[in-house]
Amino acid sequence: MERQAIIIDAPPSLRTRRRRPGFPLGLLLPALALIGAEAGVRAGLVPASLLPPPSAIYQALSWLLDNGLPGHVAASTLRVATGFAAGALLALPLGALVALNRRADAILDPTCQALRAIPSLAWVPLLLLWFGIDEAPKIILIAIGAFFPVYMGVVAGIRGVDRGLTEVGLLYRLSPFALARRVLLPAALPSILTGLRNGLSLAWMFMVAAELIAASRGLGYLLTDGRESSRADIMLAAIVLLAVLGKISDSAMQAFERRQLAWRDSYTARETR
């Protein structure tokens, strides 16, 4: 008789190796740009009135800090958070409905795709007419910006689920609801989270569009104020703040994504030596 023993392999270690924090390479380009700008202006290659040196931007930021900057940052951040939450909360169920139900797809998707093609600024006059110049039109504009990437992520994610996995769910007699909850949504999660990340990024862009047109507070307002008073240092300070805030929110979303998708067996670029 042949030997039929099952060889037991050693179980894998479930601990993941922690990477030693090294020099944050992402800071390299901004640092070089700052040094280049400072040197260029000091050497007289660029007029300081058009491109204030980083030291002047820093001074503008310090001055703003004592003159209402926290209020401007808070106003913009609150608008982005509210608009993004509204857009995403609407896009998640609607995207799932369109992806899971053929009739809903036939009824809703053509309209959604047509609305998606409308440039953001085209909404502004109409929103101002309907909702005045208070918070509502700004939040709605940001929600519109966040809605479509999330909607697209949900629809594409669910439609792209491997048929083999859904067959396993059907084999175990899952109800349509259980199939959606236990198979389709987890499998679509990478695409949904990418949609959320893109939606958040667009929410920041739409916030600026909204605040440039009608606002008395916020980073978009600072840009308009800087233009009207010919203060390039204030405009650049606002731009720097937008970049920093956008990066912070994207990093937070990226960390959330990494945590949720720890199960994914995907390609990760390795350091080349």
């Binding site: 099952i6 037991i8 179980p11 894998p12 996995l165 067959e167 084999l171 994914r264």
Partner: protein, 243 residues
């Protein structure tokens, strides 16, 4: 004979193409039957129908006298690829078909039986191809089905792992008295594991030939590979598919 699993397919079409026509097969309880035939002859389609994943056919299926009309708790299926859910741990994959209170101890025991003791908390990405297929077999056995369908379950693993998995499956099926319908391209595998080998024709119709493998279990792998049935099956395959 009243078959335990009675498969009667009048017609199954994929669009304009007829895949199965007038195909009948009866399996006794505890019998292991292999289906062999060239690619595209309808073997996997037949398995999908019996698993209840494909209801667009004319015909009837009966299990222990009752009609089979869709996915059934008594019928398990192990696919060609493991198809584990990557976001669930190995043990969560094994108990996937269970209700709200899965028997984790039983799942862990099954994992130990298939050689994956201690792997319950691992994620599928941490398993090799052979290990993932063993976890899929454990999932197939977890709900204690009376019929196990196997769709080329060992085709994607290396030769050594394939032999280990074949032994594992044969042991598990014989111990439990499972009725097994195995789709395979490997004649040696069919001869080693089965009580009967059914050769499907390249044109839709009844089974081309049937070979009873009259050898006691446990079997000698080399002796089965040298069985006189092998050239007979290969000759029939040549005739059926003109290969």
């Amino acid at each position: 004979m009243n078959a335990f699993l009675d498969i009667n397919i009048h017609e199954k079409r994929h669009g304009a193409r007829t895949v199965l026509r007038g195909f009948h097969l009866g399996l006794r309880q505890g019998e292991i039957v292999s289906l062999v035939g060239a690619s595209g002859c309808g073997k996997s389609t037949l398995l999908s129908i019996v698993a209840g994943l494909d209801n667009a056919y004319r015909g009837a299926l009966r299990l222990d006298g009752r009609p089979l009309t869709g996915p059934d708790a008594d019928v398990g299926l192990v696919f060609q690829a493991p198809r584990l859910f990557p976001w669930l741990s190995v043990v969560q994959n094994v108990v996937f078909g269970a209700g709200k209170q899965p028997d984790l101890a039983r799942a862990e025991a099954l994992l130990a039986e298939v050689g994956l003791k201690g792997y319950g908390a691992a994620l599928p990405k941490q398993l090799s191809g052979g290990q993932a297929q063993r976890a899929a077999i454990a999932r197939g056995l977890y709900l204690a089905p009376r019929v196990l369908l196997l769709d080329e379950p060992f085709s994607a693993v290396d030769a050594f792992t394939r032999m280990r998995l074949q032994d594992l499956l044969a042991q598990a099926a014989r111990q439990r008295g499972l009725t097994v319908l195995l789709v395979t391209h490997d004649i040696d595998e069919a001869l080693y594991l089965s009580d009967r080998v059914i050769l499907m024709d390249s044109v839709p119709g009844p089974a081309r030939a049937e070979f009873a493998v009259d050898a006691p279990w446990p079997r000698e792998r080399r002796a089965m590979a040298g069985s006189l049935l092998k050239p007979a099956i290969l000759d029939s395959l040549h005739e059926a598919h003109a290969i």
